[in-house]
Amino acid sequence: MLTYTLRRLLIAIPTLLFISFVIFMLLDLAPGDPLADQPLTIPPEVREKMRAALGLDQPAWVRYLLWLKQFFWTEPLYIIDGIFGTEFAFDQQRIISWQFRAPAMDVIWQRMPQTLWVVGLAYVVGVIIALPIGIISAYRQYSWFDQIGTFVAMIGFSVPTFFTGVVLIIVFAVNLGWFPSIYDTTLKITDWESFTQQIRQMVMPVAVLALFNASQISRFMRSSMLDNLGQDYVRTARAKGMSEGTVVLKHVLRNSLIPVVTVIALGVPTIFGGAIITEQVFKVNGLGQLLITAIYANDLPMVQTLTFIFAVLIVLFNLIADVLYGVLDPRIRYD
């Protein structure tokens, strides 16, 4: 398993380089222009100069190589400088966002806290409620608990978050006035009062996202449990006189986890991708909002950097999932 992991990590390097190249070409070929938002009153000659100032007059491969160098050389140096106070990266050009004319990584770090708080927490909450619901639904298939669970799950993923979010805002922010409709990203938690304020502003976005995540995961958990509950080994285990709890929670659950692990592992990178619509509805302004505004503004360096970080996480978590398969089912061998 260790050699497998190491080999996969090595393969990841060319894979990621290839992915970064494909993303770059895709962004470059996709229509759109960083000056789209400028008022139409700006004459064409001025637009041409503005494009040149962004480096857009260079050929694509030059811009790609420049980005590679900045991402893999200059940015790490800056991080090292930040930690040790050294000056390795002195005067080297970092990845500059076209919208902000500022280092893209700085803005990404700035967006991290609210993204992790809201999207990350919603994911954890979603998983925590999805697993027991999936298990009980499967164990008591077609009971009223299962039926309600199914119904809520269906609503959860067939009704889009742009709708549920607005419904929550109208009910709880406009009519009842319990929670704020706009997330305050500058809030610092210093005392009890600011802590409760933070909780209040997180309740609605977290609820919307957690419902969505939980409905998906619980469906996979339920179906996988159902598959395994009918297997011969379950009958054998029961026949041996094992307690029901041990049978279900130890044997069946462990064997049912493979698809669930896959789904959860696929979901973790999306936390860092942010939740575009939910962030928009509640004005959380996390990484999702950063990505979508960058795409709309055709801020290629920012989009490229964000999607590439996202790609690294995808490769990493899919590797983790593959390793976990081996742990959950020792029969799976990769070597």
Binding site: P31, P44, A52, V107, A297
Partner: protein
Amino acid sequence: MRLKTALMGAAATVLTASAAMAERGADGHVNIIYWQAPSILNPYLSSGTKDVESASLVLEPLAGFNEKGELFPRLATEVPTLENGGVSDDLTTITWKLKEGLVWSDGSPVTAADVIFSYEYCTHPEGGCSQAARYEGIQSVEALDDLTVKVTFTAPKPNPYNAFVGSTSPIIQKAQFENCLGAAAQQCTDANFGPIGTGPFVVTEFRPNDVIQFEANQNYRDPAKPAFATVTFKGGGDAAAAGRAVLETGEFDYAWNLQLAPDVIAGMAAAGKGTVINAFGTLVERIEMNMTDPSPNLPEGERSTVKHPHPILSDIRVRKALSMAIDRNLLVEIGYGSAGRATCNLVPAPEMFASDNTECLTQDIEGAKALLDEAGWVPGSDGVRTKDGMRLSLLYQTSTNAVRQDFQAIIKQWWSEIGVETELKNIDASVYFGGDPGSPDTFQKFYADVEMYANNFDGTDPEPYLAQYLCDKIPGPDNAWQGENINRYCDPEYDALVAELAKTGEISKRAEIAKKLNEMLTKDSYIVVPLVDRGRNSAHSNTLGGVVLNTWDSELWNTSDWHRIK
């Protein structure tokens, strides 16, 4: 334009100034929400209106426009005119005098050097300045003394109020931006995110595309202002959410540009927490007719070029019939409510430039039908007119926007009543307005028969705006589709009249020529079919006082007068 207006503007400021009695910072905190989030606070590197408006809390020009579109001095002592000798008789120079004792928010004095530097910063060839057009036609900017700046133009300039006027060309501090000239502009993150200014507020924290925190400028020139000690400027979301936050929950005090259906706004305003305000500028929603053939059967590079005139729309009778079939008042009622009014003009304001053309305002379906009959288009069996085997079928494109899609549906219906078949297409705004020569879907390429969008002009002088329709500004493959003459309209008489406008200094004559040009494009030729003069809806909470909606300059032009109503 010369300048009764400017003088009146100066008088207006004196009046507003007397309203101040409160103490600086006494009214605490104010929350502003823009559903487009500002990404930079340097208007010279801005990527849209949102950046310029947020920066206007901090940075100021020499003179600005008030809500009536009149000039008034901000950093200058007065607006230079021919009468007061500030503008030379031959219209080639303008001399500005700075107010005495002005200081930046860091306490250092504002001098002529800062003004000159602002010019140099924006005109640097490698800087990529978004507002470079405001500094066009300037030969030199020089300091006569510490507080006096003389701008010399390359040719007589009837309208010298471009440079240093309005929130799009403010004065930036030389000391702060000195090392940010040209290509270095990109590296100056601190300066771009926190410019030092002369305005009523100072940036304390800037999070790009998210939120800005301001506090009162302790060195602001009026010791009693601003009334608010701190400002939160939140960006992001959508217009409905911004409206809700001001009008329904009361979390925010001011919401910008609520582009919402009239009944939605009315529903929100009924909650009683805030007030919707509106004002009109020069923004006109219009249908532009393509004078060239956009057919996909033509080879690439010849579509929508002057080589092939449009087979249907080249006939003025068809264009006129299309315009006659539209009921503009109903469009306003459905799409804009109080924030719109029907118009037949490309230049709807200022008043002296607006033609009194109102002929198009009454819908005339029967007349349109008769006109098409006359042009030889006969109704076919399915109701669509044909002529020489060609169907009267048009592709109608616009950007993605709820109101525009409603308009498309309605106009398609009206046109079908007169026997015109319409195919609708909507394109994402970032592609449509993006101008990428590689994309077939930009509004410049115009691979459609008619298209709809809105445009306006900066400030109060329509000359550059009307000059967009010159023959040599036709976009095409030879100029990478860069050009503002979207319709491919070409009339030597029009070109000659624009040239005459550029030479004319006297304001009433200018107005006369501008009106004539406007009519040539609209009611004389139906090249441009104006639909709605679009005003702007914004909202403020009932406890926020001093708000005056201004469409000629930044909406936040008078935040120093904002105060809390107790």
